[in-house]
């Protein structure tokens, strides 16, 4: 799975409230499409209009902290973002992203040297991210096989629909 697009640079501790504020969520709770204009509204106004399919969010530490709202990764995916790269993720955001098939990658160096608009490439199978603009490349610890399958199939629901169960065999209980 190869993702390639422009970088959108964000800082540390971008919470799910920043991604989709609770007050907007409740205003438009019945529809993700109606929430979309509020995506990152107070962090990067106009983001949802300017983002292009395959673009990559490049963030600092603790991305997606706070509320468990899955609307956050879903809206990011719905807006067309191909992957999120961060120094670290909050755990619920991380698992929500995997569950909905949004690639999330933790690396140490790349966020620091990346500027807005740099061309970024994420190679999930190869376990490497590249900043093509800066000619920089960094390896990351690949997903366990089962997680990779979930992401590759577009999310855990799609996986279960196709295979009838979670990808972990009987040995895990």
């Amino acid at each position: 799975m190869l993702v390639r697009g422009r970088a959108w640079k964000l800082g540390d501790n971008v919470s799910t409230d920043h991604i989709i504020s609770g007050k907007y969520k409740f205003k438009a709770i019945h529809s993700l499409e109606e929430m979309l204009p509020y995506l990152l509204a107070e962090v990067r106004p106009g983001f949802y209009r300017e983002v292009r399919p395959g673009d990559v969010i490049v963030a600092g530490r603790n991305f997606g902290c706070g509320s468990s709202r899955e609307h956050a990764p879903r809206l990011i995916k719905l807006a067309g973002v191909g992957a999120v790269i961060a120094r670290s993720f909050a755990r619920i955001f991380y698992r929500n992203s995997i569950n909905i098939g949004l690639p999330v990658v933790e690396v140490r160096e790349l966020p620091g040297i990346t500027a807005d608009g740099d061309l970024i490439e994420v190679d999930l199978e190869g376990g490497v991210v590249r900043n093509l603009t800066k000619g920089f490349e960094e390896a990351f610890r690949g997903y366990p096989r089962e997680i990779l399958e979930i992401v590759r199939e577009g999310g855990i629901i799609e996986y279960v629909r196709r295979h009838g169960d979670l990808p972990w065999g009987g040995g895990t209980g």
């Binding site: 107070e42 899955e70 990764p73 997680i147």
Partner: protein, 420 residues
């Protein structure tokens, strides 16, 4: 068998074999819950995938209408209706408007016991770790899978040993410890990890305080925050009608990746100053900051002890003119006890607006949003930009004692002078 942490014990028992840190296991949750902020998306996910449009064991699923409740908007009313229809279709228990915030009403109803694996579609599900359950927050898709298949995938977290000793001074509450911990380790200091509490200080902490502390575990990024079952906990379980529950305690010699120690006697009232929850400073450093709104409530601090302490500050005093003070018990049961014991009267006479149970202001849904430039002292758990209203508002997180003292003075205030 080698000594085990609480997390290892609970997950090993659940999956039927010895589990190891770092591995991914598929557990069978004893309880799955979701609220009006997250259940609608779980329902939608299931509707969009007919193969999983089912509830395997309705007895293990609970819906709670608590976030925007009663509905302040047509949109909220619509999702509440959708939840009711779904609950009816599958025989799922739905806890409706005014009954309470999920993390409070679910344990009060005796739906959780030591050793349970609980997944809640809300990050503050960690609250229930105070009951020695492995309780963790998940998203709506996890919830859908858990409802349909009765399963959840979990990475077994490494555990950090948090030792508390001594006793809290007067005017210092469990919330101050919770904030102090987050301030010490940072907002991501516990990411992917479990916190397990140890130490002789625990016996002085009420279940109300314990739930506050475990609630805030997620503000440090923790997956779960667990307290061992002791006499205080056993008494509490008796009180909610769960008799003869088993104990879950960690083994001496269990392996932890880190150890933190907190001496309760040395703590002082603190606040998390805007705009981040780990920006924790002694109240004394921000005393005098002018306040427009005070909120006492939420799943963090909407319990009996919280209002009792606030009422001690309010008795014979008034909320400062120009300040609105909103007080919201976290459940109907809490509300009823406060009524019975005259606490509500103290709050109302002091000028507080006391409302039915809802998350309301905590999440900027209703009952007290903030305008640009306004400052709030809130007993909730998050002060992110715009969380309680306009992006130009600011929120100081504090204990109910500090919140009440600040309401009285109209500025951030140290509560100790009202309580000693």
């Amino acid at each position: 068998m080698r000594p085990q942490t609480m997390v290892e014990k609970i997950l090993s028992r659940n999956v039927g074999r010895q589990v190891e840190f770092g591995e991914i296991v598929v557990a069978k949750p004893d309880l799955v819950y979701a609220h009006d902020g997250t259940a609608p998306l779980a329902i939608k996910v299931m509707r969009d995938a007919p193969e999983i449009y089912r509830v395997l064991d309705p007895g293990r699923v609970v819906f709670v209408v608590d976030h925007a409740s009663p509905p302040p908007t047509v949109a909220a009313a619509s999702v509440h209706r959708e939840m009711r229809l779904f609950a009816k279709e599958f025989g799922v228990r739905l806890i409706d408007v005014g009954e309470g915030i999920c993390h409070q009403v679910i344990p009060e109803l005796g739906l959780v016991k030591p050793g349970d694996v609980v997944v809640g579609a809300d990050s503050h599900t960690t609250t229930l770790g105070a009951l020695a359950s492995f309780a963790t927050g998940v998203g709506s898709t996890d919830t859908a899978i858990a409802m349909a298949l009765g399963k959840v995938w979990l990475r077994v977290p490494e555990a950090v040993k948090v030792v508390v000793t001594g006793e809290l001074p007067v005017g210092v509450m469990g919330k101050d410890l919770a904030l102090h911990i987050v301030g010490t380790v940072g907002a991501d200091g516990m990411t992917y990890r479990a916190m397990e509490f140890w130490g002789d200080g625990l016996k002085h902490l009420s279940m109300d305080s314990r739930m506050t502390i475990c609630n805030m575990g997620v503000e440090a990024g923790a997956k779960v925050a667990l307290m061992p079952t002791d006499e205080v906990a056993l008494n509490w379980f008796e009180g909610v009608g769960l008799h003869g529950v088993g104990r879950v305690v960690p083994d001496e010699g269990a392996e932890y990746v880190d150890t933190l120690e907190f001496e309760l006697g040395r703590l002082e009232p603190v606040v998390a100053a805007p705009p981040s929850v780990d920006n924790v400073v002694p109240v004394s450093e921000v005393v005098g900051v002018e306040v427009d709104q005070v909120f006492i409530g939420s799943c963090t601090n909407g319990r009996y002890e919280d209002f009792l302490t606030a009422a001690k500050v309010f008795r014979g005093r008034r909320v400062r003119e120009g300040v609105r003070c909103v007080a919201i018990p976290a459940s109907r049961r809490v509300f009823t006890r406060l009524l019975r014991d005259g606490v509500v009267e103290v709050l109302v006479r002091a000028g507080c607006v006391v409302a039915h149970s809802t998350c309301g202001p905590c999440i900027g849904a209703h009952l007290g949003l903030l305008a640009s430039g306004e400052v709030a002292v809130s007993t909730s758990n998050r002060n992110f930009v715009g969380r309680m209203g306009h992006e130009g508002s600011r929120v100081y997180l504090a204990s109910p004692a500090t919140a009440a003292a600040s309401a009285v003075e109209g500025r951030v205030a140290d509560p100790r002078k009202y309580l000693s």
